[in-house]
Symmetry: C2
Amino acid sequence: MPKLWNETIETHRRAVRDAILNTTAELTAEHGLRSVTMSQIAENAGIGRATLYKYFPDVEAILLAWHDRQITEHLRQLAEVRDQTDGAGEQLEAVLRAFAHISRQSRGHHGTELSAFLHRDERVVRAQQRLHGMIRDLVSEGAQTGVFRDDIAPDELATYCLHALTAAAALPSEAAANRLVTVTLSGLRDGHPTPDDRRPTSRHQHQERHTERSGH
Amino acid sequence: MPKLWNETIETHRRAVRDAILNTTAELTAEHGLRSVTMSQIAENAGIGRATLYKYFPDVEAILLAWHDRQITEHLRQLAEVRDQTDGAGEQLEAVLRAFAHISRQSRGHHGTELSAFLHRDERVVRAQQRLHGMIRDLVSEGAQTGVFRDDIAPDELATYCLHALTAAAALPSEAAANRLVTVTLSGLRDGHPTPDDRRPTSRHQHQERHTERSGH
DNA sequence: CAGTTTACGAGACACGATGTCTACGATGTC
DNA sequence: GACATCGTAGACATCGTGTCTCGTAAACTG
């Protein structure tokens, strides 16, 4: 692989840089965050160790650059999706859908969490599942009572709850956290709208604006 | 600190173990995930390096044990909150509120994300902010148009969106991800209900089911 | 085409972290 | 008081790190 001399120097350096980033992402996803070393990266990227140091000073810098590349690319995609749509409501829906898609794809990469390195452990997984189970049971019970929506599996709603509420860590005040809970609960109620398991592309443009949910 | 000999051996080992876990959490929050070493932990915990190895084989094991302790304790708290309430709806609301509270408190610990180690970098922060800004602007515009709720700051709603949708990574199918978007959007609409920055305990039972958004 | 610049790789180096082991002192248990 | 257990300090080989030099090959310059 070291012989990927491309036409100009500029493009060559770019190619090597990308190869480093990709290799690092793979190694991270494979062996966890903490065990990735400069030596491994150099070897797997097919370049010398000294060469690697001419591109990045340490592993953290590589991870940072990788994350930067990822999020920049995602931003570009999302902006494109947004600009291909009209109206704030439709735009946001399209952007959120694209974001969910991206989130799904970049799972396993090591995502944006240290899960890749923690979820290797069985105990942690089981503890998370107990937490998930607790929420799921409450959602399920509430759905049967008619308090919560029953058009979506309690399992998925529980996942939604847990992730949505981690946003609390980023909020500045306790009051804001309470508002977050309110918003999250709104997502759990919302009556029993039209089943929304399929193609979104032809649904939200003419409906949903002023008609609100008419069906059911 | 090495002289924390407590009465019995059992309690002593427990105390040392907890000290190790706490020290590791502090060091992680301070210097990031990757830079924490066994030597540092031993020194900061006030014990010998060889002793540390008699408790844990490596840093990962300590982090695992710490995370396990955290989540177990959280589970206990949440179960307590749940059992002090009646009715699935109220129980879930109480549990989610407690969970949000916990999330807020354990931010900075290193949370459950590798953010503690990535968010140290300015570029990453700015990239995240651009993403946040894009969503926020759409939410804001939609609120002015009347499509989305306007009782909560677009900033907070954007945070909610981004976190909620990271759940997509944990979902098994693309259809499930689409349902997740639907649920998340439900949280953004939900008419303009009573301002909910305060006590929730007596609101959601009789309203909100068949009334749907009446105002506007 | 010849000369210069740039990038690469291999090897060497000192340093720090790792994981293991031994010997010895201190503490709790019987 | 005898014994088991725990903690500490030190030694050790090994590995990753960060820096450097040197020899080579490719790309840019005129």
